[in-house]
């Protein structure tokens, strides 16, 4: 039972990951700093999902990357591109709409149950 719940939860969250990652890239982040920021907000992300996701976003030209070699170890920084910013705004609106609709839907379901 709990494995089914787990897989359903993972599925539910998967779509929101892109949004979560894009939201944190207004300032340049490297892989691990991004993980920490997300975890601080309570979002746990599989690291084996995150790094490939960053690459895919880069390929889709939503984010740009650059190597910073000035510190003790080289780090690859990712940040939102202009195009990525536009997409992020639209995606955010889409998410707000969806969550509002779902909220109403779930609230209605709760009232029906009370009858």
């Amino acid at each position: 039972m709990s494995t089914l719940l787990n897989s359903l939860t993972t599925e539910l969250r998967r779509g929101t990951l892109t949004l979560a990652v894009l939201s944190q890239l207004k300032t340049p982040q490297y892989g691990y700093s991004l993980v920490q920021r997300l975890e601080k907000s309570g979002i746990t992300i599989d690291q084996s999902t995150l790094y490939p996701l960053l690459r895919r976003l880069e390929k889709q030209e939503l984010v740009t990357s650059s190597w910073d070699t000035s510190e003790s170890r080289p780090r690859k920084y990712y940040s939102l591109s202009d195009y990525g910013g536009e997409i992020f705004t639209q995606l955010k609106e889409e998410w707000e709409k969806t969550s509002q609709e779902l909220y109403i839907l779930l609230k209605g379901e709760g009232e029906d149950g009370a009858d």
Binding site: Y30, G31, Y32, S33, D46, Q47, S48, T49, Y51, P52, L53, R55, W67, R73, P74, R75, K76
Partner: protein, 329 residues
């Protein structure tokens, strides 16, 4: 640490050459970020466990799918396979009909029949394997060449589904359907018949058991007489093959099919009657041999008329069945 390098190598060796160095460097720095100062081997293991199976991580980086044929193409792949396999099997059987009459077919009737059936089955299997292999390969390549983001399944014409596709679905009731096995059986039967007919002098006749092995004593038929009808018999065989193909493509009985079927029945019954009416059909030696067993001459005409009657009854019944199935709605 050696474990880290091994891990990175396990990931990158699964990736395209051009991305390897960059991803390796990023993984290296990420892993070091995750490790505390003065880490132990146990720390490394914990971190690597967090990153997970290198195969999964690598497949995340790769755009290529981790399956041979995905949901987008699976259904059309299966339906094409179902469509092409029987056709290929039939073609291999037709090749058998065309091929076997003039080949060495064994020493006895049973051997010849078994050999042809064996050839037929092995032909179907090897053609089937070929079809399966090439179709699967083509779809696996197609899957990898398809760069469109669209993941919805495609239909037989490789386009997305529309309600128009519903019109292509044949609605066949079980009673009207021509079973695939019937087509195979008639093709196999035709090839056995062709082989026996054109090699009758070597196969059909009197066998005697001597010293535990079967010896061919004398052929029943006069091969020269049989061969003189080659055009008629070839026509019957070719029309039989064509009819089987037509049945295969229709997949069900229609009035048109029943009509052609009736003509075919008529044709081969006529051919049968013409051939058995030839007074020189039977080998004189065979007749002489039979005379030693029983008085064949007084039975001759009743056997002749009996055979004609039986063949007409069978043909009529078959024809009736064809029309009956065609009329079912």
């Amino acid at each position: 640490m050696e474990l880290i390098e091994l891990y990175i190598q396990e990931v990158t060796r699964r990736l395209p050459e051009k991305n390897r160095a960059d991803i390796a460097l990023e993984l290296q720095s990420t892993i070091e970020d995750m490790l505390p100062e003065d880490y132990t081997e146990q720390d490394v293991k914990t971190v690597l466990l967090k990153l997970g199976d290198p195969v999964t991580l690598a497949s995340g980086y790769r755009d290529r799918p981790m399956h041979l044929i995905g949901p987008r193409y699976y259904d059309v792949y299966i339906s094409l396979l179902k469509m092409i396999l029987p056709i290929a099997a039939v073609i291999s059987l037709i090749a058998l009909v065309g091929d076997n009459p003039f080949r060495d077919t064994g020493n006895t009737v049973m051997e010849a029949i078994l050999k042809i059936i064996g050839k037929g089955i092995s032909g179907i299997i090897s053609t089937g394997i070929q079809v399966f292999f090439w179709l699967t390969l083509s779809f696996a390549i197609l899957e990898r060449l398809d760069t469109s983001k669209d993941q919805s399944p495609v239909t037989k014409d490789l386009k997305p589904w529309t309600p128009e596709n519903l019109k292509d679905i044949p609605n066949i009731s079980k009673k009207k359907a021509v079973p695939m096995i019937e087509v195979f059986a008639s093709l196999l039967g035709l090839s056995v018949f062709a082989a026996l007919y054109f090699n009758a002098a070597n196969l059909l006749g009197v066998y005697e058991k001597r010293n535990g092995s079967l010896i061919f004593v004398t052929p029943s038929f006069n091969q020269d007489v049989l061969n003189s009808y080659w055009l008629l018999v070839s026509c019957v065989i070719i029309i039989g093959v064509l009819l089987a193909i037509y049945k295969l493509f229709l997949g069900r009985w229609t009035l048109k099919l029943a009509f052609f079927h009736a003509i075919y029945q008529l044709l081969y019954t006529l051919a049968f009657i013409i051939i058995i009416s030839n007074p020189d059909l039977l080998n004189p030696e065979f007749l002489a041999y039979q005379r030693t067993l029983f008085s064949i001459d007084e039975w001759k005409s009743s056997i002749y008329w009996g055979l004609i009657l039986i063949s007409i009854i069978f043909a009529a019944y078959d024809t009736y069945q064809g029309f009956r199935k065609a009329k079912i709605r």
